[in-house]
Amino acid sequence: MEIDGEKTILERKQSTYLSLDEKFEIRKETYGGQQYSQIYFTRLHLMRTLLYSLVPNLKPHLPVCKILGLEKGKECIIVGTLYKHMKLKPSILDEYSKTRSVTPLVKPHNFMHLDDHLILEDESGRVKLGGTMLLPSSYITGIVVALHGMETEAGDFFVQDVLDAGLAPQIEFPLESREDKYVVLVSGLSVGSSASNPLQFQLLVDHITGHLGDEKEQAIAAQIVHVIIAGSSVEIPRGLLNGQNLASKDQSRLSEPIKELDIMLTQIAASVPLDIMPGPNDPANYSLPQQPLNRCLFPGSAAYNTFRSCTNPHCFELDNIRFLGTSGQNIDDLQKYSEAKDKLEFMERTLRWRNLGPTAPNTLGCYPFIDRDPFLIDSCPHVYFAGNQDKYETSLLKGTEGQLVRLICIPKFSKTGVAVAFNMRNLECHTLSFGTQFDL
């Protein structure tokens, strides 16, 4: 800090950035007519190899066998992919089997039913799971688990214990960081929608860039080293898209939200490194992993090298602290097909199952990869975030091998006016809330 007469110049803190998005980018994949069986095979193989290495430590005396090798009454461990049979899960075939006049008036938000049951499957066969250890309401199709139990007379597999992979090993948290450095996470800006308040967004931008408040406030803002925008930044007026050619005035109306967003992002990018991720409502591809928003959409901000358009999911390291997060589609999909006490529990489950999007490709749109599953979590992050959630929630998750993860649910900014500030020194986070109402 230099003192020049009466003015003090505050310098923004900086941090090193490393992008780890290569596995989410679709560059060399070519579609050869494959189906989703390839990604399931890869997922089962990689997870099974991992579970086979973990099982001897937990249950050393039990034999491990394939589903085809099950014998009645013999206690053993089987590893496979879970499949949850759900009565209410919408199926495209229903459109053909039911009469066209019967259309459901209300679409359920959650497709669970008391009759849902679980089946374990590997390449040799499948077996229905019984017993009370495994609650169908907590599990979904697509995760790979190890089950300890035995085959019953009825042919079911009676589950005595469940072993999931647990949290992945974590790189060491760098201890030498002694100063407070903040990362601001925001999502659901929905620029262009009727719900979004341009003044609120402008206040956020002004706070981040240090144009707000006195010197103390500016000193706080100078500690912000990075901004992440986790999806749903625009809302394109879809009412204009009705299958006919757009009139030229409609064409400009279609692109107004993006232009407005670009103006705001230029202000942010001019002062602090910025990552923008695509979300469910953004002009990007639908299936995960969503590819980065095209730089042509942001002519103003893309000129800055601080502006980065990233994939969804997004993984990166700041000062050797690993961040991993999505724009929320994976967690929202889990909520449709299972239940938990809060969104943080869903996030914790995905970390324990070592899969960011276990419901992909079953109910979550996904590219049909052949030789990898990009959602597998090899290394436990220090910060795990999910955007576009209803409210701000956070917790600190502790693993069995000393892993420490900060879980963050980023609320929709257009609805709540809340952004999240995360302190890289001590893994604490707090909210930044912006209000424009005057309660008199």
Partner: protein, 118 residues
């Protein structure tokens, strides 16, 4: 399905029972798939199919079809045999080296045996 110029529809669908026969196991809640028996019956079936569907069938192709049908290396649909061999190699499944040699040299079908038929 592969296109055929046969005007004789009976000839198109003609199937002959093979000596082995595909046996149906008693159904229980497990559904076992016996890969080896299925693939040998399969290759026998194809050799009895109508001439339009028959292709050059030598020992090499037979070995490659066994590789296609082997469940340990995952599904074969939608992938070239070379890509599938490389994936199996990368995942540490130790696919036999002779398959790679066969795929690199000589005129063998690059796609799996279902290629273009499904």
């Amino acid at each position: 399905m592969a296109t055929t110029s046969s005007k004789n529809m009976k000839g198109f669908y003609r199937q002959k029972k093979t000596t082995g026969g595909i046996t149906k196991k008693a159904t229980n809640t497990k559904s076992p798939k016996n890969a080896a028996a299925l693939s040998s019956n399969l290759t026998a079936f194809i050799s009895h199919a109508s001439p339009e569907l028959k292709d050059d069938f030598d020992g090499k192709e037979s070995v490659l079809r066994q590789f296609d049908m082997n469940m340990a290396y995952g599904p074969c649909l939608g992938m070239s045999r070379q890509a599938r061999w490389e994936r199996a190699n990368r995942l540490g499944l130790n696919p036999p080296k002779e398959i790679e040699v066969m795929l690199n040299g000589g005129k063998v079908q690059a796609g799996c045996l279902w290629d273009g038929r499904i």
